[in-house]
């Protein structure tokens, strides 16, 4: 799926790394300024085209979201929200480009049971490696943003790769290239944070005093960030998580339950072995057999 090399990988699913982790590269990031988005879906088309995906024609239920949700083919989706701002009384059309956020602390990678099916590159990208994926759907449960989708055709998990294959040859992601308004920008994470500050400043000068950068610390920051005009209420934007983090249920499942489980199973087996060594088998004696015979023959 990608032209990155094994040495570019800093983290791998279901793999205990004993060697010191390879040096982190310059981290990359995609910055999406939702206030600049006109909802044209050029990014969505570019994503389908570059990744050679096809979404079957769906049904129109009277909303702009098309398809209605992310799918194994639709790795990015424009989500439209009509919101009446109680302060200004204005109707605001909030458009958010949904897709993988490329978390620094990826829940999918932590949940995945198949070694190497999910990797994180030195530049921060979280990528699925189709050939190692077994289609179990654990990544769906691990993700705090509800992004991965399992194909019912080939039983593999799919999501945005941040165009890791394009980046590896020095190209920017297809969506960023296609965006006509530069609502999608791409660069190093430091550059993008600096860029976001500028964009936020402009929004504030236009009266959006709650404008800000969405780079949630609960998941260690993300490599896809948003500039939001209402950064105090991310949830307005088609349910963007206010405070995303890996669910405590997942942490317990992938943490304590594994260690405790392995220890308890091992301890039980060990107890059995020791008990046998110390006590020996519990054997039926000749006396027992004689008593049984007496009973069966009806003798007193």
């Amino acid at each position: 799926m990608t032209s990155f090399q094994p040495l570019d990988v800093v983290r791998k699913s279901a793999t205990v790394t004993t060697a010191p982790p390879p040096k982190r590269d310059v981290e990359v990031a995609k910055l999406i300024d939702v206030s600049k988005c006109i909802g044209c879906k050029a990014c969505q088309s570019a994503c389908l085209e570059w990744n050679d995906l096809k979404e079957p024609v769906g049904t129109n239920v009277g909303v702009y979201d098309n398809p209605h949700d992310l799918t194994p083919n639709t790795w990015t989706l424009m989500r439209f929200t009509e919101w009446e701002n109680p302060k200004s009384g204005n109707l605001e059309w909030l458009i958010r480009k949904d897709g993988c956020m490329h978390c620094e602390d990826p829940g999918c990678l932590k949940a995945c049971p198949s070694p190497g099916a999910i990797v994180q590159y030195a530049n921060g990208i979280v990528d699925f490696q189709k050939e190692h994926c077994i289609g179990c759907g654990y990544c769906e449960k691990g993700c705090p943003f509800n992004i991965p989708r399992i194909s019912r055709i080939d039983n593999k998990a799919y999501k945005c790769s941040l165009c890791s294959d394009r980046l590896a040859i020095g190209q920017q992601p297809a969506c960023a290239k296609a965006c006509p308004t530069q609502a999608i920008m791409f660069g190093t994470k430091t550059e993008m944070i600096a860029q976001a500050e500028k964009n936020v400043g402009i929004l504030k000068s236009r009266g959006f005093d709650k404008a800000g950068l969405y780079n949630p610390p609960g998941v260690g920051g993300t490599h896809v960030m948003y500039v939001l005009h209402h950064a105090d209420q991310p949830n307005l934007y088609a349910g963007l998580a206010d405070n995303p983090r890996i669910s405590p249920l997942i942490e317990a499942w992938k943490g304590v339950s594994k260690y405790a489980g392995m220890a308890i199973i091992g301890a039980t087996a060990l107890f059995g072995a020791l008990h046998y060594l110390v006590k020996g088998p519990n054997e039926v004696s000749g006396h027992d057999e004689a008593e049984a015979k007496r009973l069966a023959e009806g003798r007193k």
Binding site: N155, W253, I265, K279, P281, E283, D288, E289, E291, A292
Partner: protein
């Protein structure tokens, strides 16, 4: 029986019918397959177990189907063994003397029926765990859950699926621990395996471990009388 002519051979007592043993072996085999396939996804250090099934993708689709076979087998066995597993007063006496049990001093234990309190606890813990594994297993099973959602008109939330994963793992570990105890007891208490392989145990085994059961079997005429009748 040929043993009748041999005064030294122990009395044979029938413990399980052929269909009970078939039911038990279907469960036993499916449980081991579930254990191997489940554990391969449980911890990275056990992922190699997926090799027995031809890789992780096979594990992913096989495990739930084996689970259905297992759960069906368990349900049938549950109904079959239920009457003999109802708790009774002696079970508490037996449990109170667990030290003698572990030391193999059966002479200090009360006379027990077909099952002792330990065996009943294995029965009842699996009776609780198997339905939990079945329900949470469905929650983790992409096509199975889709089918259940359509059939029963509901939609599982993501947190419910996460909980299902956690509970399935915990229930599986508990079931495996109980399974280890179950297997160990069958190995440790000599003469037990025959109950599931040939369907019979020796009278001495019954006398030592399940005396009340043996007495009932004899009283009800289900144990062959070894005294050669004068007419023969």
């Amino acid at each position: 029986m040929s043993t009748q002519s041999d005064p030294g051979a122990p009395v044979k007592v029938r413990r399980y019918s052929g269909s009970a043993r078939l039911n038990h072996w279907i469960m036993a085999i499916s449980f081991v397959l579930l254990l191997l396939s489940g554990l391969s996804l449980f911890h990275p250090s056990l992922f190699f177990l997926s090799g027995f099934f031809g890789g992780g993708a096979n594990v992913r689709w096989l495990h739930p189907w084996i689970g259905l076979v297992f759960a069906t087998g368990f349900f049938l066995l549950f109904l079959r063994f239920l009457p003999a597993n109802l708790p009774e007063r002696t079970d508490f006496t037996w449990l109170g003397r667990i030290g003698h049990v572990l030391a193999g001093r059966d002479e200090y234990l009360p006379e027990v029926g077909k099952y002792n309190a330990g065996q009943k606890m294995v029965f009842w813990s699996q009776a609780i765990l198997v339905p939990i594994l079945l329900v949470t297993g469905f929650g983790l099973w992409t096509p199975g859950l889709e089918f259940a959602e359509q059939t029963f008109a509901f939609k599982a939330t993501m947190d419910q699926k996460r909980l299902a994963a956690l509970v399935h793992a915990i229930a599986a570990v508990t079931a495996i621990v109980i399974w280890i105890i179950h297997i160990y007891a069958a190995i440790w208490v000599r003469g037990t395996m025959g109950a599931m392989t040939r369907g019979t145990v020796t009278g001495g085994w019954g006398w030592r471990h399940h005396r009340r059961w043996l007495k009932d079997e004899v009283a009800d005429g289900r144990v062959e009388n070894k005294k050669p009748s004068p007419a023969e």
